[in-house]
Symmetry: C2
Subunit: 200 residues, 2 copies
């Protein structure tokens, strides 16, 4: 099998992460999500917690004065930008080394010039996402709706801030799929079959 | 194998029709596109040519006074609405009878209550569609761009006129795919693998 790098974008509450993880297992590929922060932190000689608050968030221009990283060449760069830069390098190194599945972190943009990259976006109708998030955090519908709005907004802002592309817009992906139709296990199996059929 | 009804929406110039046809062949399913007009015309005792001009076009309210069908229960219904109604019945009858692939004609909306229906949307970036249409009709880029705009507008108007859904909007489909990435044969093969992995 030739090298395959699968990047997965996902709406909050679509179960995209769980699906990507199962798909990776089915395809026998390594899976990277939060691990990327740890790898980026390690590279900077920092603790992952120092980066966690900036994960998948664009820099806030109003906070530009604070929250920088001392041991980065450009001291004035906000921590979010440092995380994006270091994480992007981690992603590029991973893709040079192995086939893998990478969730979020604008990895499809970072790897946009690779011919062996497939980008997938996983979405679901709002009713389905509300149910998932209510159950996941044991919260009521109103709070679930707020969290979904906030999280999607953060992801979109992060993606659009660091790329010249649009998060969650069909035209920017090779494939998009509604995860609510068949649930986590089945969607993972369907995506593994899809990706398995691709030959570069 | 359980029954599968695959409906395919497609941007003009995405090669969606050719891909759907190959996918149907690969899956061993019957394929319906223009055939639907002939079947609808036959049911009405009309010539297909009488319906052809109304194919995948919503009724024009400014022409409401003309262009009706005499042998339809409601004489005042525009020919486009008659075609939609009769074609929808043809589509429902097909789905009751066999697994098949149906292109366009808002078939996914017509069959929206069936659990064994999968709706797919095929798109491609504008540059790719321009090349396809220029070549297909031996026209220059400007004319190709006009045809694409016109044809997509017609399809969208038709779909949105007869349904309460939005044509070409990711959220309304189970799966969407960019056909420019791997071309006609490969995309058909990938979709056949995807659909083949679905079990209802």
């Amino acid at each position: 099998m030739s090298r395959k790098i699968i990047t997965v974008g996902r709406q909050f509450g679509s179960n995209g992460r769980a699906i990507a993880k199962l798909m990776a297992a089915e395809l026998g590929l390594n899976f990277y999500d939060k691990e990327l922060i740890e790898m980026a932190a390690k590279r900077m000689g920092m603790e992952p917690e120092q980066f966690a608050a900036a994960d998948e968030k664009g820099a806030n221009p109003w906070l530009y004065a604070g929250n920088h990283v001392q041991n980065y060449p450009n001291h004035m760069l906000p921590i979010n930008d440092v995380l994006f830069n270091v994480q992007s390098q981690v992603i590029r190194d991973l893709a040079n080394r192995e086939s893998c599945v990478i969730v979020g972190r604008a990895a499809d943009y970072v790897l946009r010039d690779r011919r062996d990259m497939l980008n997938i976006f996983i979405y679901a109708p709002m009713e389905s996402r509300l149910k998932t998030i209510q159950k996941r955090f044991d919260i009521d519908e109103k709070e679930a709706r707020n969290r979904i709005r906030k999280q999607d907004k953060d992801r979109k802002y992060y993606y659009n801030y660091y790329t010249d592309s649009g998060w969650g817009e069909m035209e920017n992906y090779f494939l998009t799929i509604d995860s609510s139709r068949f649930g986590i296990e089945e969607t993972a199996r369907i995506l593994a079959a899809t990706v398995g059929a691709v030959t570069f």
